[in-house]
């Protein structure tokens, strides 16, 4: 027999370890307070986030989670009205005043103080814009690209000189968050001394931000929670907007982090949080609607889902082919099956949530038509354009049958194509949509395979390499000014990493886009944006599919005054007017 030394894991008395463990458990369960009353008896609004903000440096922040928190700390000159979504003066005293040639914009500022009590001046605005311009801060620089010069006329007046009249200057540059010069000038000065000033600026850990919003940061326990407290210097306190008297009336906000939607919904039901600052999956709604103390809100999301084509390739470059596909797709079915009814069909590229710019009168392919009628229409369009089939989707007596082997007008059979989509664990709606569309197209004789790929791989193919056939994509949180239409479809954006993924080139559209961007008058601009939408729906580089709903849930037994904007209650206004019920 070999005399072994005994390994530590073979210790004789595991009982002791188990006893200690269960003792600790018992202690922790007994002693841990079950109450959810907050520290010092102050009223806390408890908000659930699905991800922790990564940074509070506004020059680095990119995700929606950072922006949700930063929007309560920093404020812009103009803000969207909660009802109309039109821009209204916020830190600005009144509407921007344009010079006769509309290239000089003067903005007067409201008297306001930063959260450290120092006054807010035009120097802060100029400083913020100059930092972005001088250091080429990505994601912000394009907002300010048309600003040639910034002049501080007085502590309360600032003048922007533009390279040309720019309609989107208001909705982009003037809605940017402003940072205090006093706090950031040292950081910027140090950054400029180094060889990599941008990295130094973005790697600045903005631990205790000095802001101008309704709340300021009180404590951030990384990985745990984030607490904000009321900013006693908040400039808008007591003012009235759209009949709402601005507070804030909540002393503190406690942001808690939940890894999954399931856990966060349970937290709302249990009363651990008062509001989940994110959409709730439709599957939970039925359960939540009957729960005591809970109220749900459902609005159309400010986003769109669409099928995109690569217009650089045949047959996708043929408008007849795209129109036929538009007829084949049953959008109502997608809304019912993919979104479980929580959404609506979409026939334009501006979401219905943006009521001011949403054009309800674009062409609606296949609306109200039965499936055989849609197929017949699609066949007639393609036949008129010279397409043929090995087996037509229509029998000789006009009945619908599975088609096979679509042949292009030049007589060659259509090659197998790929419909890219993200995997179901990233976006189940898009993955499911791609699969359904694949079946419809195959039944029509169009050889296509839906291929779920990682989001990064998809973006590489679509955005960088332009090596794709079709893709299902979605945009969320689209700006209310419609400026993105230019970016999506302008010929100038049809280049590597440009947003014109489809390769749509139409000089008439380019001209309209330029006209829209230089038309300051809102009504006139809206008319141009309507024309642009109709042009896109006529040419169909995108086939808009649906606009999903966004459902949110709150504890209305603890707080009241949720501001239900057209895009939902998760907005800055809610935090400014919400009141405890008791």
């Amino acid at each position: 027999m070999v005399n072994f030394r005994r390994p530590i894991l073979m210790g004789p008395n595991l009982g002791l370890i188990y006893c200690l463990l269960f003792l600790s458990l018992a202690l922790s369960v007994i002693i841990s307070p079950k109450t959810v009353t907050a520290a010092s008896g102050q009223a806390f609004l408890k908000v659930g986030l699905l991800q922790e903000p990564k940074t509070l440096n506004p020059f680095l922040a990119s995700s929606v989670w950072e922006k949700k928190v930063l929007a309560l700390i920093y404020m812009p000159l103009y803000i969207h009205d909660p009802k109309t979504l039109r821009l209204i003066p916020w830190l600005a005293e009144g509407p921007p005043q344009y010079s006769e040639d509309q290239t000089e914009v003067t903005v007067d500022l409201k008297p306001a103080k930063w959260s450290d009590g120092t006054p807010f001046t035009a120097e802060d605005v100029a400083f913020t814009a100059n930092v972005i311009k001088e250091l080429n801060v990505p994601r912000h620089i394009s907002d300010w690209e048309h600003v040639k010069e910034i002049t501080v006329k007085s502590p309360k007046t600032i003048v922007f000189k533009l390279s040309e009249p720019m309609a989107f200057f208001e909705s982009r540059a003037l809605t940017s968050l402003i940072v205090p010069k006093k706090r950031w000038e040292q950081v910027v000065a140090q950054a400029k001394k180094t060889g990599n000033s941008l990295n130094v600026l973005t790697s600045y850990v903005n631990e205790m931000p000095v802001g101008i919003g309704p709340f300021k940061l009180k404590e951030w326990q990384r990985g745990g929670y984030l607490v904000m407290e009321k900013n006693k210097y908040f400039f808008a306190a007591g003012k009235t907007v759209d009949g709402m008297k601005i507070g804030p009336y909540v002393e503190n906000i406690l942001f808690k982090i939940y890894g999954t939607n399931d856990a966060a919904v349970l937290a709302v039901k249990k009363g651990d949080i008062d509001f989940l600052y994110s959409g709730v999956h439709p599957g939970f709604l039925k359960d939540l609607k009957g729960a005591p103390g809970i109220k749900t809100y459902t609005n159309v999301k400010d986003g769109i889902y669409y099928l995109g084509f690569n217009l650089r390739k045949k047959p996708f470059s043929d408008p007849a082919f795209r129109q036929a596909v538009a007829y084949i797709i049953d959008k109502a079915f997608l809304v019912e099956r993919v979104l479980q009814g929580y959404g609506r069909r979409l026939d334009t590229i501006i979401p219905p949530a943006n009521a001011a710019l949403f054009d309800p009168n674009t062409e609606k392919y296949g609306l109200g038509m039965s499936q055989p009628d849609r197929i017949k229409k699609a066949v007639s369009i393609l036949e008129a354009a010279g397409y043929k089939w090995k087996v037509s989707p229509l029998t000789k007596d006009g009945a619908v049958q599975p088609g096979e082997g679509l042949m292009l007008p030049d007589g060659t059979p259509m090659e197998s194509s790929v419909l890219l989509c993200p995997p179901a664990d990233y976006d189940a709606s898009r993955a499911m949509t791609a699969m359904i569309v694949q079946e419809w197209l195959r039944n029509f004789g169009i050889p296509v395979n839906s291929r779920p790929v990682a989001q990064s791989a998809m973006m590489q193919s679509v955005k960088t390499e332009r090596n794709f056939d079709m893709f299902v994509f979605g945009w969320a949180r689209l700006s209310f000014d419609g400026a993105y239409l230019d970016n999506f479809f302008n010929s100038a954006s049809d280049r590597k990493n440009g947003s014109n993924y489809c390769g749509y080139r139409n000089p008439e559209f380019d001209q309209l886009a330029h006209q829209a961007s230089t038309t300051i008058n809102f009504e006139a601009r809206r008319e141009i944006l309507f024309q642009m939408q109709r042009m896109i729906i006529r040419d169909l580089p995108y086939i808009p599919l649906f606009a999903p709903d966004e459902s949110e849930c709150v504890r209305d037994d603890r707080f009241t005054g949720w501001v239900n904007m057209p895009v939902g209650i998760g907005n800055t206004w809610t935090f400014m007017v919400l009141r405890p019920t008791k």
């Binding site: 070999v2 394009s142 890894g259 955005k463």
Partner: protein, 325 residues
């Protein structure tokens, strides 16, 4: 003397392997489709923005220049700035590593202790009701789908019975209360720890149990066990002092590697329990193309696995005098 030579040789091998891993990691991250700019889906993003982001992170440089900078900085102790956090990667890792160690390393140690102990017992009572019950439980537990099981546990113990918190590592209500001191906060962490620890324990103990059981079953057939019986030793003595230490050798390798890998946590467990650990950071870093953070996290894990292999090898020589290097 031989052991010393062995250690020197192994250390050199480890350094070469580590350098190879460093290079491999660099290549793997670069050949994956996309880069940090491809994950920013912004309708207003222009090609110029993309170029600025690539320039900011040094991705506009030729690949060999990026590699040389990476190697040079590594040996200078500069592990880079996280693209996503804008902070040094070591700061990011340091902020989450203790949380991972607390949950995953504790879970590995506890499940190893229990698995070995119960595996030993099950093998000794082969064919008995206890053996069948333990083996079956171990098998079922080992095959449970973790996210589903974790959610069920949360639903029962946290939501329905309200015994544990729903998620996270601390209760802000306690940590923000000036009247709550060190002990209250420690208990609060323990309170949050228990359920994820229990879930991980249940999932993992089965693996150790099954390995230990099958190893024990081999050992009990050996002649020295018969000799021990002939000497008149008690069952308990034979099991604990003669059979189990022999059978533990393959389990030691298992435990060593599990401990090393426990540092990467588990993205699924951390997500379901909202536990702020390294696993979730690692997955985020990979999916967001945060090269510096992902590379450094993997390098730490690689270094630990290499080191634990060495430790296990040395431990073998210590535990089993027959093994000579």
């Amino acid at each position: 003397m031989e052991l010393r030579r062995y250690l020197i040789n192994r250390t050199i091998q480890i350094i070469i392997t580590f350098f190879f891993i460093m290079t491999l990691l660099f290549i793997l991250f670069r050949i994956a489709p996309g880069d940090p700019s491809s994950m920013i889906i912004d309708p207003h993003m222009t090609p110029e923005d993309v170029a600025l982001i690539r320039q900011q992170f040094g991705l506009d440089q030729p690949i060999y220049v990026q590699y040389l900078v990476y190697i040079k900085n590594f040996f200078k102790g500069d592990f880079g700035i996280s693209f996503y956090y804008g902070e040094p990667v070591l700061n990011v890792i340091k902020s989450v590593l203790p949380n991972t160690l607390l949950l995953f390393t504790s879970a590995t140690i506890l499940s190893a202790l229990a698995g070995i102990s119960w595996g030993k017992f099950a093998a000794w009572k082969k064919g008995s009701v206890s053996d069948v019950a333990l083996t079956l439980t171990g098998l079922i537990a080992h095959t449970l789908f973790l996210p589903w099981f974790a959610l069920i546990m949360i639903w029962i113990f946290s939501y329905k019975l309200e015994l544990f918190p729903l998620n996270g590592m601390v209760s802000p209500e306690i940590w923000l209360d000036p009247e709550c001191g060190f002990w209250a906060k420690s208990l609060d962490v323990l309170h949050h720890l228990f359920l994820p620890l229990l879930v991980l324990f249940i999932i993992h103990f089965g693996g150790f149990l099954l390995v230990m059981r099958s190893s024990m079953l081999e050992v009990v057939k050996e002649d020295f066990i018969l000799t021990a019986r002939a000497k008149g030793l008690t069952d308990r003595e034979i099991r604990n002092h003669h059979a189990a230490p022999n059978a533990a050798l393959p389990v030691i390798t298992n435990v060593g590697l599990s401990l090393a890998f426990s540092i990467n946590g588990g993205a699924l467990t951390e997500t379901v329990f909202s536990w702020p650990g390294l696993g979730r950071e690692l997955v985020n870093a990979v999916s967001q193309f945060d090269y510096p953070l992902a590379q450094m996290s993997f390098l730490i894990i690689s270094a630990l696995v290499l080191a634990s292999n060495l430790v296990v090898d040395v431990l073998y020589a210590y535990l089993d005098p027959r093994i000579r290097y």
